[in-house]
Symmetry: C2
Subunit: 128 residues, 2 copies
């Protein structure tokens, strides 16, 4: 599919899709006419990219996470440099901190809403 369709299906502007490609977060082949060609799987990938970026990860880290996700199934006992592993471990810690912080905020907001006369709204959000 071309960039416009991918944009329609993900809700992400073509401009940003090109930017993500430039940053190495998504890939495309080229048609004879120079148009980008994306695959079905890119729809999911773009959604993941969006979420990760919205969650405060810089593109450079999004790339790492996606790369790891990609080889997770094949290479089950991978070897990597200690430096890389330590970097990942640092990021793991950062991710845990972010999750903890967001969870606390989420609970704060939810508890607040539950105590307003609009508490019915909260019904849908399942506790974790």
């Amino acid at each position: 599919m071309r960039v416009g369709e991918l944009a329609d299906r993900t809700g992400v502007a073509p401009r940003m899709l090109r930017y993500y490609e430039e940053q190495g977060l998504i890939a495309s082949t080229r048609q004879d006419n120079g148009y980008r060609a994306f695959e079905e799987a890119d729809v999911e990938r773009v959604r993941t990219v969006r979420s990760l970026i919205a969650s405060g990860l810089p593109t450079r880290l999004v790339r790492v996470v996606l790369d790891i996700e990609a080889l997770a199934d094949d290479e089950r006992s991978p070897s990597c440099s200690t430096a890389f592993a330590e970097m990942l471990y640092g990021e793991l810690t950062t991710l845990n901190d972010k999750i903890a912080c967001l969870t606390k905020s989420r609970d704060t907001v939810r508890h607040y809403l539950e105590h307003t006369e609009h508490s019915a709204l909260v019904g849908a959000a399942e506790p974790v």
Copy 2:
């Protein structure tokens, strides 16, 4: 305490503390000489602000979360406009999405690390 001490104790540059104040995320009184005066509780508050911003929340939302947190203990059955409640509900959904996305990425990274020869690193990170 003055801005320098708060900076030392939070690891956040004075420049950013003034910025956060400008954005309404923290408050200070002024001494006679014009110096900002912060309270003990601001140390925690600044840490919270940092975490929330690092988690991708824009300052405008950080303000809302902190405001809610502040009145959570006093006003237990607050009344607010439907529009505000709906906005909060929307943010609640966003927070849940971010948490889910970060959790998935965290698990991806952790599982990867566990399968490398550096798996010993992961020991500290408790599963959630």
